[in-house]
Amino acid sequence: MITALVILLTLQLTGTVLSRVTGLPVPGPVIGLVALFILLSVRSTIPANLSQTSQTLVDNLTLFFVPAGVGIVNHLKVLENNGGAIIVTLIASSALTITVTGMTFAGVSRLMNRL
């Protein structure tokens, strides 16, 4: 577990430094995610301890955003003033996204089958 954490935290440190140095508008952990994805896809196997620790972290992903979610107590006014507009925006945008994504995926698949 500790070895896996060293790997993950090293990637996070590298990603954060890269983000700062290059001025790229991408968070450090996302750079770390892409780096780990590339590293693992050129290897034939995933180290067992990395796989286990990652599984535990991903399984409890929800827990790690609880503190940020609780930050809503600082934004109650925004929700009070814009509640209706926010809900309508989220429903309409989600319905559009599901429609466009599903139709594009199915449409391109159908086109490929015909060729």
């Binding site: 955003f65 930050g71 925004v78 989220l90 309409a92 989600s94 559009l96 996204t97 599903g102 490929m112």
Partner: protein, 240 residues
């Protein structure tokens, strides 16, 4: 409260222990309730945990800063957990190779629709600048969405709330919309759910079909990374 209890409370409320314990205990309880309800969308563990803890803070008059003294030990793991998402993603590399073209086309179309429609509709309905920027990454998985939100000048906690509401909405309206459109391919259905509604949509897709779940998880990861790269760039181009 009796003076002795008040005294102990004032002492503890200032230390990280109580708030760290509260975060872990409430989350553990919320997860049990969610499993016992067989995944009822409105009992989403994040939604329940945030509601309970926010209620405790408001009723005890505790500031978010005091709470965060304890909660920061939990919040720290968001970074490593985001990087760890690469592992399940690599596991789906072979499936991804067989459907590369539809995956790429649907990813780009879906991601841009999610961002563009949120901006257009939110702006037309008169959302203020903070809410409008914070709502743009609403369709991607929370750890990435919060980082992106901060990056583009939004509020990470406001984004977290938008992300969860979006997930719950997507999980509820997604399947009926896809069925009404006549889309029966499990890969297409799953990919749409994951693109629009991240992890909550993915949990819903797994209930429907294993292939749908795999493609939904893939969509969640790809859309998270694509949005994290594209959205700050779009804001930068727009001169924001």
């Amino acid at each position: 409260m009796t003076p002795a209890i008040t005294h102990i409370w004032l002492y503890l409320a200032d230390k990280p222990l109580v708030w760290l314990l509260l975060t872990l205990a409430v989350y553990a309880g919320a997860r049990r309730i969610f499993v016992a309800s067989r995944g009822f969308p409105l009992l989403n563990p994040l939604l329940v945990s945030v509601a309970v803890i926010a209620g405790v803070l408001l009723s005890t008059g505790t500031s978010y800063g005091t709470y965060f003294h304890g909660a920061k030990y939990v919040a720290f793991w968001l970074g490593p957990a985001t990087i760890a998402l690469a592992v399940p993603l690599v596991g789906q590399l072979n499936v991804l190779r067989t459907r590369l073209l539809p995956v790429t086309a649907a990813l780009v179309a879906g991601s841009l629709t999610a961002i563009g429609s949120a901006y257009t509709i939110g702006w037309a309905l008169g959302l203020g600048p903070e809410a409008l920027v914070s709502i743009l990454p609403k369709s991607i998985t929370t750890p990435i969405a919060m980082g992106v939100s901060k990056e583009i000048g939004g509020s990470a906690s406001l984004t977290a709330v938008f992300v969860v509401i979006t997930g719950v909405l997507g999980a509820v309206i997604g399947a009926p919309i896809l069925t009404a459109l006549g889309i029966r391919d499990s890969a297409a259905r799953g990919f749409a759910l994951g693109t629009a509604a991240h992890g909550i949509g993915t949990a819903r897709a797994f209930e429907e079909h294993e292939t749908a779940g795999a493609f939904s998880g893939l969509a969640m990861g790809l859309n998270g990374v694509f949005t994290a790269l594209a959205l700050p760039f779009m804001i930068w181009v727009a001169g924001g």
